[in-house]
């Protein structure tokens, strides 16, 4: 088994923590794990991408080869679209948070943010499956916006082909969060899982 997962978004969305949770969970389950993190100027609003590679045999390199992602977890719509040619393929499953983080050049009106419907259409056309979920909206209903990353992880573990499940994630949370914050994060995972299970929104 070799499973290639990408978590993509922008600085400040909790990408690196989310990828660490996946990594630690996988190590606990006895898998070989390699996570490549790109976070150059990430705190300064730049794109952040984590390449997470789970394997049951040898060690893998820190970057996923071209078109090699099984799942792309998109914390931000345009950043998800950006990496499709590099890492997607016709079987890739996309789980995308619908909430844009507008770049400064978009805010300034110099360039246009892609229309959300267009993004969904493109991803549907060239993917195995698209799950388009309002993770930020649900996070804000639950507490701070940052919980979005945990809702997205909850959605991730509801995908059948993904080799970890919610119980596995739940078991690792106490290692990572102080006891007072665990409950909220468990809830966020559950919400994400439900969003995939009950909704199964897709445009195919």
């Amino acid at each position: 088994m070799l499973f290639n997962l990408i978590i993509t978004g922008v600085g400040g969305q909790g990408n690196v923590l989310a990828s660490q949770i996946v990594g630690r969970t996988a190590v606990k389950k006895g898998m070989r794990v390699t996570i490549g993190e790109t976070f150059g100027l990430s705190q300064r609003g730049g794109p952040v991408m984590s390449h997470i590679r789970l394997s049951d045999h040898g060690q893998t390199g820190p970057l996923i080869p071209p078109c090699g992602a099984h799942i792309i977890l998109g914390l931000e719509p345009m950043e998800t679209l950006r990496i499709v040619p590099s890492y997607g393929n016709q079987h890739t499953i996309y789980i995308v948070n619908s909430r844009p983080i507008y770049p400064l050049n978009v805010i300034a009106g110099e360039v246009v943010y892609p229309d959300l419907q267009t993004i969904q259409n493109v991803l549907t056309t060239i993917s195995g499956r698209l799950y388009w979920i309002e993770a930020t909206k649900h996070a804000l209903q639950l507490g701070p916006a940052i919980l979005m990353n945990m809702i997205m992880l909850g959605a991730l573990c509801a995908i059948d082909s993904f080799p970890l499940n919610r119980k596995d994630f739940d078991a690792v949370l106490p290692d990572i969060f102080p006891a007072t914050k665990c409950k909220l994060n468990h809830e966020a995972l559950a919400i994400g899982e439900r969003l995939i299970q009950s909704d199964r929104i897709s445009f195919d």
Partner: protein, 632 residues
């Protein structure tokens, strides 16, 4: 959970970042003294060791700069304590003056210099291969390929340093330092040594030629050991059509690319982990296997050039060989290598068509016109936005074509629209002030433009102070603005001499930038960049003054303010006051001020606060001509 990195027992498999693996490897080697200066991608090494120092008997410090760091660590080595010094590639430049002398005097207890190079300059002002310093200074160079090797090879580095009595260089790159992977840790030793400087020893460079000769003998000793190192490997067919010679984490890309292209019967891999001095006999032995070789390494053609020189010495015996790599154009000279680049190169050498190209071309046509690049910007609430806004406005009022001489930190982004394109030069740490010394003496040649130099608080201590003294001494007309956000913010909030604690958590009396300036009789003002109009007035006033003067713009980094309890305001755009596109301001708040928390509502055609992004610093309330941005 965090403590498991520091547990005594070995044999456990943990998820470690490359830098954490390096730190663990140093602890397993009995390191006692660690110093460094922060800089991506190296910072987590010292941070991890500082965390370890809470429970283990070692000393860790952030030094004021890399030269002092290597000097401090060397003292520990002289006194019999194993020492480590860590920095990014630019830091090695700073440390190099001491390094090239230290390698003549030699060392005592094991000491390792870690450089973390940053291919593509992902978080750097340059793309530099620090490996040349190992060749320049005649010291051994080790290059691990994976986090596991990074951990394991640290022991080798310390042992080797102690055997040959010289410092050993250990090179990582961003993609290794910032990769997490499962790593098996080993037992931590009991530390029993006591610091003692044997006064029968001495460490200096004289007589220079004899010491230089000794340095080469030490290097040869290291070379002999490298011939049998388990980290140098050949894998592949007995006589392949091509051998890829590689080092560092790109080794993994090569390995996977060969698998993906089903070329295991055609290509062998010669992985070199001891890249200086070369294990000559080992390499020549494997050069006999094939007639075609491809070099894959980051950043410069280091192995490529040195191995071709080695080949030339044995060409009569080896016969004609063909070498591919950067020089032949098969591997790019610039930029980080990726699996894609390696796949492309191998596929082209074997005339293989990669099946995924069709998908890539199709996907690219669907997205390329609708996916703009994301512009870098200061964080919401960043004091630098206010500082540059004040500087921009003051220079406009002043109207003499004034400009900003920049430096290294988050505020380097003043070269871009987020800093209103005010900064016109950026080079090395402290160089903005050095340049100011020159501009400040150009008046005799008719130079009349005012120059504002900006530097951060950590940069001030690192290298700006000598240049400031120079400006004072030579009576340059220089205006320094210290952007004091109370942190080494760019690299992750490491403490520095101006903060009130050390990396080990000890309280310390802050070194006062203001007092330093006053001691030199340099006039100093202080302002708050959140008070943009007031700050603009101060900047304008000081622009009219002559001689050396310093303005400290003091406000904590927004990310620190956030951690310490957040910001005072909830911001709101009053949609009755905002006149949208009919205002005449031409969307000034979006187009010029460019805070990511202040967006444009496409439906209402008015400005809008993005409640997910805005932190509530409130400074944008000053900029709206209609006073439509309100602090609640």
């Amino acid at each position: 959970m965090m403590n498991t990195i520091f547990q005594k027992n070995g044999g456990v498999r943990l998820l470690l970042q490359g830098n954490e693996a390096i730190a663990r490897g140093a602890l397993e080697s009995g390191v006692m003294f660690c110093a460094g200066y922060p800089g991506n991608p190296s910072s987590e090494i010292i941070e991890t060791l500082a965390e370890a120092a809470k429970t283990l008997p070692l000393y860790v410090e952030w030094s004021v700069n890399e030269k002092v760091a290597i000097e401090a660590a060397t003292a520990a080595s002289f006194a019999g304590c194993r020492a480590l010094v860590s920095m990014k590639q630019n830091g090695v430049n700073v440390a190099s003056d001491f390094l090239t002398n230290l390698t003549l005097s030699g060392t005592h207890a094991g000491i390792v210099l870690i450089t973390c190079d940053d291919p593509s300059g992902i978080s750097s002002t340059n793309e530099e291969d620090a490996r040349w310093f190992a060749k320049l200074a005649d010291i051994p160079l080790l290059e691990p390929a994976t986090p596991q090797e990074a951990l394991d090879m640290m022991r080798m580095a310390f042992d080797l340093s102690e055997q040959i009595k010289n410092i050993v260089m250990f090179r990582s790159v961003s993609r290794l330092s910032h990769t997490r992977s499962d790593v098996v840790i080993h037992h931590l030793p009991e530390i029993s040594s006591r610091a003692f400087f044997n006064i029968r020893q001495s460490f200096h460079t004289f007589p220079v030629v004899a010491k230089h000769k000794q340095r080469h003998e030490k290097l040869n000793q290291a070379g002999d050991q490298f011939e049998i190192s388990e980290y140098n490997t050949y894998t592949g067919p007995e006589h392949p059509e091509l051998i890829v010679i590689t080092s560092g984490c790109v080794y993994m890309y090569v390995k996977e690319a060969i698998d993906m292209l089903h070329l295991n019967e055609n290509i062998g891999i010669l992985k070199i982990a001891t890249t200086w001095p070369l294990p000559k006999a080992f390499i020549i032995k494997h050069l006999q296997r094939s007639n075609r070789f491809l070099f894959v390494e980051e950043v410069d053609p280091f192995l490529e050039e040195n191995i071709q020189v080695l080949y030339a010495t044995a060409a009569g015996q080896l016969g004609i060989k063909t070498f591919f790599g950067k020089s032949s154009g098969h591997i790019p000279f610039c930029g980080e290598l990726t699996p894609s680049i390696v796949l492309d190169c191998l596929a082209s050498l074997f005339n293989i068509k990669r099946p995924e190209i069709q998908f890539q071309t199709h996907a690219l046509t669907l997205i390329q016109d609708i996916t703009p690049l994301r512009e870098f910007g200061f964080c919401p609430g960043c004091p630098h936005r206010g500082s540059y806004y004040a500087i921009k406005t003051a220079l406009l009022w002043d109207n003499r074509d004034g400009f900003v001489s920049g430096d290294i930190g988050c505020y380097t982004m003043g070269i871009w629209p987020t800093g209103f394109n005010q900064v016109k030069s950026v080079h090395a740490m402290g160089s903005g002030m050095g340049l100011a010394c020159g501009y400040g003496k150009l008046d005799r040649f008719g130079f009349q433009q005012p120059v504002i130099t900006v530097c951060g608080d950590s940069t001030f201590f690192h290298a700006a102070i000598p240049a400031l003294i120079n400006a004072k001494f030579n009576q340059a007309d220089a205006f320094l603005v210290v952007l004091d956000n109370n942190a080494t913010a760019m690299t992750g909030f490491q403490p520095h001499p101006g903060t009130s604690h050390t990396v080990m958590g000890n309280k310390t009396e802050p070194v006062d930038i203001e007092a330093i300036c006053r001691a030199m009789n340099i006039p100093v003002s202080v302002a708050d960049p959140y008070e943009m109009l007031e700050t603009t007035k101060v900047v304008y006033r000081m622009l009219q003054e002559c001689g050396v003067r310093v303005l400290i713009l003091r406000r904590k980094c927004a990310l620190i303010q956030n951690k310490e309890g957040g910001f005072p305001y909830t911001m709101k755009v009053d949609i009755h006051r905002c006149r949208g596109e009919s205002c005449g301001c031409n969307r000034y708040c979006n187009r010029i001020f460019r805070c990511p928390g202040l967006i444009w509502d496409e439906n209402a055609k008015k400005a809008l606060i993005d409640e997910v992004i805005c932190v509530g610093c409130g400074i944008c309330a000053e900029i709206c001509p209609q006073q439509a941005i309100i602090r609640l």
